[in-house]
C-alpha cells in the first residue's frame, strides 16, 4: 500500500527526520490560507500515488498566496496517469546545495532488506544506476545485526560526508530504517534528501510503501485502503479486493477469469498470442469455489468494455460440477447475456461439461483452443457462438 507524500513526511517528522514545513489542502482557497503560515517561496505538490507527477505539471512554485491559489487551482482535479488529484501539499522551498538519494527496500535475491544510497539524487534510481553507478552504495542488511549506527556512518562516509555532517546524515538513515521496520515497509525512500546551503539535511521528497501482507499489523492503514481516492486502485479493483479476489483492469474487451496467478497471466498471454486483447486479470485463487467464480463473473461483467468472458479453471481439488453450477447461477444473478468461453479441467470434469453444455455454454478442451475461440468471438468472427 502506497502512502501519500504528506503521510510519509508526517511519519518522518514524527521520527525526527527534518522535512520542509508544509500544509495539506484540498481546495485552492484552503491552499492559499495554508500558505499564510509558511514562508515564501513555496512549492505546491500534487498528492497522487504515481511517480512522474513533476513531468505531468503536478509540481508548481509560488511566491505569494495568490500564486499558491492559482497553482492549486491548476493541480487539483488534474488527472495524472489515470489518477485524480484530490489534494495538494504546500511546503516551503528549501535552498539546495546537493540532492542525494537514500532508499531502503527488499533484495529478492539476497532475501534481505537492502540500503541504496547515492550522492546523486533527485532523478530515478534506474538513471542513477545507469549514469553514475560508481556513486551508488548498495548495502544488504544482515538480520543478525540490523542496520546499526556504524553501518549508517559507513554509508554517509561513502557519500563523501565527514565530521558533523556525517553524523547528522547517519542519524537520519537510522531513523528511516526504524520506520521501515516499525511500519513493515517494502520501500522507504528519500529522493532527494537535500543538503541545504547551511549544511543541514532535509527530506525533500518521501515515499513509503507498506507491505500489503503486513497490513493486519497496521489496521489504521488497512482501513484507509478502501476509502475512495485514497489508493492507486480503481473502484472495480477495490471491489475485487474486498471480495478477496485479485483483479487488475486492462484496456481490451475479453474478460478473463481463472484460478492461480500464473495460469491467469498465461491465459492473458494466450489471448494476446491469438490477436485478442484482455479486459482484465482476475485470479479467484487456487481453490476456485463456485461462490468465488460467481463473484468474479459479477466484477468482470460490470466492465462495459467486455463483450466475451473467458473462464479458465484448472481444478485440482475443486469439483468441476460445482463450478459449472456456480457459473450458471452467477450468469442468471448478474443477468450476463453476452457470450462465454469456458475451459474446465479437474475432478468431475465430465459432469461439469455436461451441465454447461446443457445450458448452451460451450466448453473447450485446451486453454489454447479456448483462447483462440474467445478472440474470434471478441472480433465478431464467430457469430454462431453468440
Amino acid at each position: 500500500m502506497k502512502l501519500f507524500e504528506y503521510e510519509a513526511k508526517k511519519l518522518f517528522e514524527k521520527h525526527g527526520i527534518p522535512v520542509p514545513r508544509g500544509k495539506l489542502a484540498t481546495s485552492p482557497e484552503e491552499a492559499r490560507k495554508a500558505s499564510s503560515e509558511l514562508s515564501f517561496p513555496v512549492v505546491v505538490k500534487a498528492q497522487v500515488l504515481v511517480s512522474g507527477r513533476g513531468k505531468a505539471g503536478g509540481i508548481l512554485f509560488a511566491n505569494s498566496p495568490s500564486e499558491v491559489e492559482e497553482a492549486a487551482e491548476k493541480i487539483l482535479g488534474m488527472t495524472i496517469k489515470g489518477l485524480n488529484v484530490q489534494s495538494v501539499w504546500v511546503e516551503e522551498k528549501i535552498s539546495v546545495k546537493n540532492e542525494l538519494f537514500f532508499s531502503i527496500t527488499i533484495d529478492r535475491v539476497k532475501r534481505s532488506y537492502v540500503v541504496l544510497a547515492s550522492s546523486v539524487g533527485g532523478v530515478d534510481i534506474e538513471e542513477i544506476a545507469a549514469k553514475t553507478p560508481e556513486k551508488l552504495v548498495r548495502f544488504p542488511v544482515n538480520p543478525d545485526y540490523g542496520f546499526r549506527s556504524f553501518h549508517a556512518r559507513y554509508i554517509a562516509a561513502k557519500m563523501g560526508y565527514v565530521g558533523d555532517q556525517q553524523k547528522k546524515l547517519a542519524a537520519i538513515f537510522r531513523k528511516v530504517y526504524a520506520i521501515t521496520m516499525e511500519l513493515d515497509a517494502e520501500l522507504a525512500e528519500m529522493n532527494p534528501i537535500v543538503e541545504t546551503v547551511e549544511g543541514d539535511f532535509v527530506a525533500a521528497d518521501a515515499r513509503i510503501i507498506i507491505d500489503d501482507n503486513a497490513l493486519f499489523r497496521h489496521p489504521e492503514y488497512e482501513k484507509r485502503l478502501f476509502e475512495a481516492g485514497a489508493s492507486e486502485f480503481s473502484p472495480r479493483e477495490l471491489e475485487a479486493m474486498r471480495k478477496g479476489l485479485a483483479y487488475v483492469g486492462l484496456d481490451g474487451n475479453i474478460g478473463i477469469i481463472g484460478n492461480g496467478a500464473g495460469l491467469v497471466m498465461a491465459t492473458l498471454d494466450a489471448v494476446q498470442y491469438y490477436g485478442g486483447k484482455p479486459a482484465n486479470f482476475l485470479d479467484v485463487g487456487g481453490g476456485a469455489s463456485a461462490e468465488r467464480v460467481a463473484s468474479a463473473l459479477e466484477i468482470v461483467a460490470s466492465d462495459p468494455k467486455v463483450n466475451v468472458v473467458f473462464i479458465n479453471i484448472l481444478g485440482g481439488i475443486t469439483r468441476c460440477d460445482e463450478v459449472a453450477r456456480g457459473i450458471i447461477a452467477a450468469k442468471k444473478k448478474v443477468g450476463y447475456e453476452k457470450p462465454m468461453v469456458i475451459r474446465l479441467v479437474g475432478t468431475n470434469e465430465e459432469e461439469g461439461k455436461h451441465i454447461l453444455t446443457e445450458a448452451g455454454i460451450h466448453v473447450l478442451e485446451s486453454m489454447e483452443e479456448a483462447a483462440e475461440k474467445a478472440v474470434k468471438i471478441a472480433k465478431g468472427e464467430n457469430r454462431k457462438w453468440e
Binding site: V109, D211, D212, N213, R217, V248, L263, D269, L314, G316
Partner: protein
C-alpha cells in the same frame, strides 16, 4: 531418486486441524506420504485421519521421528510455526501459507540458512516426487513418474504443464513450486543444481513469471556453467502492465525491471528454448529428449 523429498521423507503437518490442513493431510496420506504427526496449539491429544496431534513440534518429536514439515498455519502465525520447525531441527519445510509479511519471510530465510534447512515457499503448492512423496496441495493425478524435473513460480500453471507432459508420456522426477512471494526459500539456480546432480532427471522445465530477476540469474547460470541437461522454459505475464501486482505478491514489473521480455531474452540468449504457450513445453522437451 528425484530431489528433496522421497519415500524416506517423514512429515509433521503444522496446522493439521484447520480446514486446509485436515483436507490435504488426507490427500497426502492417500498418496502414500508418511505423515507421522500433526501440530496445532491447544489441540494436543486429538487425531486427524489417524494422525496423532500435539501442541508443539518438540512434543511431536519426543514420540516420532521426522525430517520434514508442511505448514498450513494462517499468515499472522506462520513465522512462529516456521521457526518452531527450524529450532527443532527439521531440514525440509514447506510453507503453503499465502500472505506472509515480507519482514517475517526474511527472518525465516535467514534462520533457515544458518540451520542448513531448505524452505519451499511461502505461497507454494509444495513439492512432489511422483509415486514416492507428495508434500503439498497439488492434484496428484496430473503427475507421473519420469525424467522431467519441473521448477516453477506458479501453482496451477505447474499443474497445466505437468498435465501436458504426462499426456505426452513424459513423466516427472520431482516438481517443485518456488512460491509466488517476493521472498522465497529457493531460487531457480539452487534447484537447477539439484536436478543436475539427480541421475533420474534428464531434462528440466523452468516456469517463471514477471517480477524480480531470478529467471535472468538462472539464464546466466545455465550459460556460464554449461548446464548439462536440456531446459525448456515458459514465462507468464507478457501482457502484464508495469506497477501492477498480478495475483502473486512477487509478480510485479517495477519500472523497466522484471518484465517477461527481459526474462525471455536472457533465457533464449542462454540457449534455453522458451515456449510461446504452456502446451508447447511438452513438445519442446519431447524433441530435446529424442535427440
Amino acid at each position: 531418486m528425484g530431489i528433496i523429498v522421497d519415500r524416506n521423507t517423514r512429515v509433521i503437518v503444522q496446522g493439521i486441524t484447520g480446514t486446509q490442513g485436515r483436507f490435504h493431510t488426507k490427500a497426502m496420506l492417500e498418496y502414500g506420504t508418511q505423515i507421522v504427526a500433526g501440530v496445532t496449539p491447544g489441540k494436543g491429544g486429538n487425531k486427524v485421519h489417524g494422525v496423532p496431534v500435539y501442541d508443539t513440534v518438540a512434543q511431536a518429536l519426543e514420540k516420532h521421528e521426522a525430517n520434514a514439515s508442511i505448514i498450513f498455519v494462517p499468515a499472522p502465525f506462520a513465522m512462529d510455526a516456521a521457526l518452531e520447525a527450524l529450532e527443532n531441527g527439521l531440514k525440509t519445510i514447506v510453507i503453503i501459507t499465502e500472505h506472509i509479511p515480507i519482514k517475517d519471510a526474511i527472518q525465516i530465510m535467514h534462520l533457515a540458512r544458518k540451520n542448513g534447512a531448505t524452505i519451499i515457499g511461502p505461497n507454494t503448492p509444495g513439492i512432489i516426487t511422483p509415486s514416492e512423496c507428495k508434500l503439498g496441495i497439488m492434484p496428484a493425478h496430473v503427475f507421473r513418474r519420469g525424467v522431467v524435473g519441473i521448477v516453477s513460480r506458479s501453482g496451477t500453471l505447474t499443474y497445466e504443464i505437468a498435465n501436458g507432459l504426462t499426456r505426452a508420456k513424459l513423466g516427472q522426477s520431482t516438481c517443485l513450486g518456488l512460491g509466488g512471494d517476493p521472498i522465497v526459500g529457493l531460487n531457480f539456480i539452487e534447484v537447477l543444481k539439484m536436478f543436475e546432480k539427480d541421475s533420474e532427471t534428464k531434462a528440466v522445465a523452468l516456469i517463471g513469471e514477471i517480477g524480480g530477476n531470478l529467471e535472468e540469474l538462472a539464464a546466466e547460470y545455465i550459460q556460464n556453467e554449461g548446464y548439462s541437461k536440456p531446459v525448456a522454459a515458459f514465462i507468464a505475464g507478457r501482457t502484464a502492465p508495469p506497477g501492477k501486482r498480478m495475483g502473486h505478491a512477487g509478480a510485479i514489473v517495477m519500472g523497466k525491471a522484471g518484465t517477461a521480455q527481459t526474462k525471455i531474452e536472457a533465457l533464449e540468449a542462454a540457449g534455453v528454448k522458451v515456449a510461446e504457450k504452456p502446451g508447447d513445453i511438452a513438445k519442446i522437451l519431447a524433441e530435446k529428449l529424442r535427440s
